[in-house]
């Protein structure tokens, strides 16, 4: 009952001698997927046998642009479920509390509220690094993002554990976002 990434099928190649690198992409919803994406995912998904990808990714992360540039220029590939996320100040206190409750049950085992990387990245500064819609999709459409969004794939390459889909409802994800904003010092 080993967990298999959803939407992916590993297939033994009949032509190639080495089959381990043969990945069949089976995502009818996005035919425009690039070869680079496929290779990246291959590296991430087969990390147990791949070498050096982690170090390279870390090096790449060090040379990354500033957070402001990132958030402005990030290309996002997400599903159709969440299209717009409105944010405003002051924060909704009830949402912050609701988001905290969700965090305690479904997020805390892997994410700390400071910058510490545990299983996944620490949440400090996440709302400065990512657009709200990216965060919402990462929570609600996790498998889609991990298979199609470049930034999400970079995270998978770093963490090597696929972020689980914790079946968070969209309205609860919005509360989590509010809690993250509060955690980042917004009022």
């Amino acid at each position: 009952m080993q967990h298999q990434p959803q939407g992916w099928q590993y297939a033994w190649s009949h032509e190639k001698e080495s089959c381990i690198g043969c990945v069949v992409i089976n995502h009818s919803s996005n035919n425009a997927m690039t070869i680079q994406h496929a290779l990246l995912i291959t590296a991430a998904a087969l990390a147990l046998t791949a070498c050096g990808s982690k170090e390279e990714a870390e090096k790449a992360a060090k040379n990354a642009p500033t957070p402001t540039e990132l958030i402005a220029n990030q290309p996002i590939v997400h599903g159709p479920e969440i299209k717009n996320v409105e944010i405003k100040n002051p924060l909704e206190a009830a949402w912050v509390a609701g988001g905290k409750a969700q965090y305690d049950t479904k997020c805390m085992p892997c994410h700390r509220l400071d910058e510490t990387k545990l299983v996944g990245p620490g949440w400090k500064g996440v709302t400065k690094r990512r657009q709200p819609i990216w965060i919402m999709n990462m929570i609600c459409n996790t498998d889609f993002m991990l298979s199609q969004d470049t930034e999400a794939q970079k995270q998978l390459e770093l963490c090597l554990v696929r972020m689980p889909n914790q079946n968070v409802a969209v309205e609860d994800a919005r509360k989590i976002l509010e809690f993250m904003r509060s955690n980042d010092g917004e009022k």
């Binding site: 298999q4 305690d104 805390m108 085992p109 545990l118 299983v119 554990v161 914790q166 968070v168």
Partner: protein, 667 residues
Amino acid sequence: MIMKPSPTNTRFALCCALALSGAVTFTGCKPQNLVATAQTGGAAEKVYVPPGKHDEFYNIVSGGFSGNVSVYGLPSGRLFRQIPVFSQFPECGWGYTEETKPMLNTSHGQLPWDDSHHITLSMTKGEHDGRWAFVNSNNTPRVARISLKTFRTEEIIELPNSAGNHSSPFLTENTEYSVAGTRFAVPYADEGANPDVPINTYKGNFKSTISFIKIDPQSGRMSVAFQVMLPGIDVDLARGGKGKSRDWFFFSCYNSEQAHTLLEVNASAKDKDLITCVNWKKCEDYVKAGKGRKSKVKYAHNVYDEGTHSASSTIENEVTVLDPKELKDIVYFMPCPKSPHGCDTDPTGSYIVGSGKLAAVIPVFSFDKVQKAIADKTYDGDYEGIPVLKYEAVLHGEVKKPGLGPLHTEFDDKGFAYTSFFVSSEIVKWDPKTLQVVDRIPTYYSVGHLCVPGGPTTKPHGKYVIAYNKITKDRYLPTGPELTQSAQLIDISGEKMKMLLDFPTVGEPHYAEAIPASLVEPNATKFFKIEENKHPQVTKSEKDARVERNGNQVHVYMTAIRSHFAPDNIEGVQQGDDVFFHVTNLEQDWDVPHGFVIKGSKAAELLIMPGETQTLKWTADRVGVVPFYCTDFCSALHQEMQGYMRVSPQGSTTPVKFSVGDTGAAH
């Protein structure tokens, strides 16, 4: 993989289909395999389900002496799961975890094993509704209900005043009742009678019973509504009426000789035995009118609650008994040639097919004629005070020379009947109206039960008949004296039956039903919602993970998520402590179970589904540091999912301490 059937392409496709289904080795496509392919005449294509595609039917198969139930796909014959029911199953901790132990409780205490027999699937208006599967245990009489959403056993009820629950758990047309008839007549301690009697006083002292278990139409919860007390006789199999006969239930009975030794000879002496016709509607009315007698008994009723992820067992102490000698119109016997086994009703409810396993004919009874014979009192005497209807008066006709040793009959969607023949090893197709045999096919070997998808319902799905064989012999690679059990898939879509596939089964497959996947698949539970987890020891957040001492009991409230336990470092446990690991899986996605086990566990592992809590009891039997780990490969870092428990000597001052992610080193 689908190609136009040009000669070369067909050859290629068949070879590949065979290779992929594992029928030949990877060096396949040798000439001898082509010969085999030619012999099967396209069979491989008919059973080939390409990788990633789903089967058309679920086949819910009795696990026989495994005590459990297996789930297969048809037409591929692939095994998906074993559902633990009456036997402990260490693979998922069934009967070992604190939550599931009560499911195996009986009036005899907790039993680790039983003998599963027949499957029956719930029906609404006589048609499959895809809600529950029922299965009976033969040794210590019980009936279990399995949810077809979770594919888990939700309830087990023991039968009082019963021995050898064989003619069970067949259902009435709307799942109002499941039945349970006794294969072994015994003396009962009922009404203060002394059951300590000589065995040779069978005649007079031994009784049989048929129990009707009420099924709640919403929850499925079972309760023994009433029992019909019968003279000592072996009640063998049963089927409910349908349509016009829906108020009746029919039970085959052998040993009308009332033999108690060497039954092989002594219970085969008479020319005819009996089919018992029970009007359950009338029984229901009598119970409502207070006609039943309350019998003091003791039986266990075990329920698994999906909300608390825990089972409870209650001992019940009363059952209502109806006596057909007093209540004259609830039971009638029909004579049936020589030791009937199967007793099956056709989809219209017009015919009752008896299968005298030592007879040279298949008698088919007419429900209309049964009604007329009862109205006209066309009796052929009585059997211990219960009227016996005249054979000729109730008979629709006999299928002449059908084969040797008829056992069971199922029906297809085109009006044909299929009867299994144990002695002559074949399935015979015949027409219930004309009683003519239209086709026969050999089985390998000695078929017992058989199954047509929807065969016992008012609306058979047809397409296949599956033979569940009693003897496997040379059909597979040998594995010493003990062999796999075997089933065979046969195509019945055409005029002639065609053998398609052999597939091995777990335990002797006593009976099975097949149901279209479309009635079950959409309802399958994918995970348990953590918000709805009402387990008394649930830990819903890692921040609540903790260790508590209570006397010499230590309770660990642990969470599991890819890929760590919290806490994963535990100290302050002492030798002799009973440690209860209450592990909650915090995952909320499909197919992410976590396992848990600790060195020296005398139970089995825990296998905890997402959102579920399960408890392993472990006794600290020695001083030291003991590892625990996740047993189900959960992520790339599964191998890192481990922890330590420190066990100190009894009376040690080491305080209870627990943590996760605390890397501070001590010297």
